[in-house]
Symmetry: C3
Subunit: 344 residues, 3 copies
């Protein structure tokens, strides 16, 4: 069960090169490709002739050519060439999907095309601002429902337990953080202060803190599956404005459903300090990359149990509050979509 | 859904040696073995005692001995020895299958044994004529329904697209070939002329053509799943009889269903030129072996999509005509078989 | 379909060390761990919070701590700590299982805890008597229903066929053994005499027999899935009491269902001869280890066929008699359990 009328990240822009890219999104096999002018397009990954995956074909003038019998389909899904015949059957079409390339992402719309408004796509200009926010990005394929990854990001008390050997630090520090959650029109946002706390070793290494720090995290969930993270720290009691913190970085987390039990985790790490040092970007990315493998392993194990036993009998605790606000937001979107369908 | 009252290739004769061979055919697990006199036999691959696969047993005097508790089953499926007791239960039997060894093949009959007429088995004497038609053969296991491979062979317009980097040549040449299709009592046959065309590099290498050629292909489909191919070429305008063409070869294509979504592709390549040069046979075989791996990859990808979405919404094009005649022939056989069963 | 009100072997005691052990038993995922005092405990392998496997957690003071959000569950299944809150929800519990450690085994009870009587656990003091019965043990994971392994052990006529190249010896010797079967309150027991027979090479090597031997085997099946084996040999006609045989060893066979189509085979080999020579223990173990791999391969192949075709149409033979007595005993236990449940 997925929200359909929403933009999901189909790929990083740089994943789509000369050869077509096959990717299953919300359980639909899709081929992503660039036409010769460089525009990205998305089609159902099945030729309308004999169901061969178009992703095994090649990009030609005017579209993508099936690698089996040579039909050419254009970016709108219309067949524009059938080898050996002049007349092209009018029903020779393949489903095409609205696609928008923005801030290094290729966003796709799986629902009703009439509702696909590019203006509703998240802005993340930092990906394009290599001077102020140099970044590095990747995609992790996860064998778990995408909501389990969103859950993970909306309850940071796991940091001390799951990431104790990497980015976690002291468990009680995370559990006792000063937490403030607000609902937003598009989701929910929380900020966490860990004041007068010991800096993790990576913070010291990155920003040279000599003593205790005031540490601030802000996580904005934009439904159905994006989280915009800002993290920063300053000398304890400095009273600086967060924009002027000695240490700050941004993470982008985008989860795209592949199937009910798997998803793609698109993420990036952008450092707002020592921007002229590529090694700083690499180091931030490297530390997070390892921690996210820990999240992946846990979420996949959790998926296996939930897939077998469901959610029945589970117990909510205090730290689930923000996560549950997030879940309710998505549930409302799905309910609204159903109502819309029923009304049609 | 398979035609049952038909001979299928169970194996190449040389696949059945000293040890039993397990092979699933039309979704039935079967053991193939040779008795001590060298006669091939086929039984259900389950001992009637405790269901152990007989293929884990050994050939002994009088039959095959189960490797678990030692029962011996003869080639007719009758249990002829039960260790530890004199009396053999009358219901201790295993299903046996009619089997005929001919032209290097072992043919099997899965349907009503009363209808198994060896006279209806295809003749392919070229496999035994090593002087005029030296050949090399193999079997490819394919993860696709056997009909998808028959489809592949009955529409050669795919040559220019799927085999562009191997045996294909110019796509439009294949699409515009002069094509003649006739129905036969046992299937359908087509011939294709590509007159005054450029010879593919492999033809030049094999037969030394200096200029353009007249190229002829003949494909005879014998239901449910054999295709007999003859291919030849002569200097353009030579007016030679095809039997006297400077270059000619025969391919045998036999598809045997394993399951609904997999099959065995038995094929051979026999060269009717430079018969005294083993390297010529090897070269022909080698070129085709690579191209057929391309067919395999495409058919397996096609199977994945058809298995998920079915045939609904697909569009037929002109080049499907022969393929569809073939499909209708097989559909009629299945319908006739059902009528026969209903009448019983 | 498993007997539930029974003790099964969950693990060898030495399998449970510093890190939790995940094991599926009777299709329930279970985590086995030792508390800091060394006591073994078994819980459902799902945290009551978000279903993360507890086996990914760590043993802490007072219980096992979930590796995701840090809840601590004690050995009785009660949650004793929820990070970030003082109040622990009363329904924050995980199922715990009765567990008894005895004779190197950790026994578990999956059924009604009120019926779990440690007194009914099999005694096997030989595992603790390293002087008189030095032993070596292991566990084989088997991809077959546990009853197929019990079948295997309750019909030794397979020795000559399946183990002909290892421990088997002459098939007819095994088939014609003098066999005596008696039912017991907890199962069935058989003894087999092979009098005046040729010793297998391994017997000669172990005990130096110069001529023929009288060979005795005793197999006691204790329902639902344990077999206690005693094997010995003496010079033919020596008239010695079995306890004084020149050559004797004990095998313990414990089968624990993992799923309907897989099980754990816990076994040990203890030599009652040359007890001061570790090489004698190693050699006995090594020979049996190889033979049991043959059993594993056969049972897994048998499972594949039975899983596809069921037991229908199979034929019983004379050597199945003891095996069938065993099966009926287990069937009666399952029927009684159902009656008990229906009466509740």
């Amino acid at each position: 069960m997925f929200v359909r009328n929403a933009w999901y990240i189909a790929a990083w822009g740089d994943e789509i090169g000369d050869t077509p890219l096959a990717r299953r999104i919300c359980n639909e096999p899709i081929v992503l490709f660039r036409d010769r002018a460089g525009s990205a397009a998305a089609l159902a990954d099945r030729c309308c002739h004999r169901s061969a995956p178009l992703s095994l074909g090649t990009v030609v003038e005017g579209g993508i050519q099936c690698g089996y019998h040579g039909l050419v389909i254009d970016a709108t899904g219309k067949c524009v060439k059938v080898p050996g015949q002049r007349q092209i059957p009018t029903d020779a079409t393949v489903r095409s999907y609205p696609l928008v390339e923005k801030n290094q992402f290729v966003w796709i719309w799986l629902g009703d095309p009439a509702l696909a408004d590019p203006a509703s796509i998240i802005d993340f200009p930092y990906h394009d601002d290599h001077a102020a926010w140099p970044h590095k990005h990747t995609m992790y394929p996860i064998k778990g429902n995408y909501m389990l990854m969103v859950d993970n990001l909306m309850d940071l008390t796991h940091l001390g337990y799951l990431h104790g050997r990497t980015i976690g630090g002291n468990p009680s520090q995370h559990v006792e953080a000063e937490m403030k959650t607000v609902r937003t029109p598009t989701g929910v946002k929380f900020t966490r202060w860990m004041r007068n706390s010991l800096p993790p070793p990576s913070y010291v290494k990155a920003a040279g803190f000599a003593g205790r720090i005031d540490r601030l995290q802000s996580f904005e969930f934009v439904a159905p599956s994006t989280i915009l993270q800002w993290t920063g720290a300053t000398d304890a009691g400095s009273g600086r404005d967060p924009d002027d913190f000695e240490f700050k970085f941004r993470l982008f987390h985008g989860l795209t459903p592949e199937t009910e039990t798997s998803c793609f985790y698109f993420w990036s790490a952008a450092n707002g300090y020592r921007q002229n040092e590529p090694a700083a970007t690499e180091q931030l990315y490297g530390e997070i990359a390892v921690a996210f493998l820990e999240d992946q392993a846990m979420v996949e194990a959790q998926q296996a149990r939930l897939g077998e036993f469901g959610e029945g009998g589970l117990v909510d605790i205090a730290s689930d509050a923000t996560r549950m606000t997030m879940r309710r937001h998505v549930d409302r979107m799905i309910a609204a979509e159903r109502q819309l369908q029923a009304a049609e």
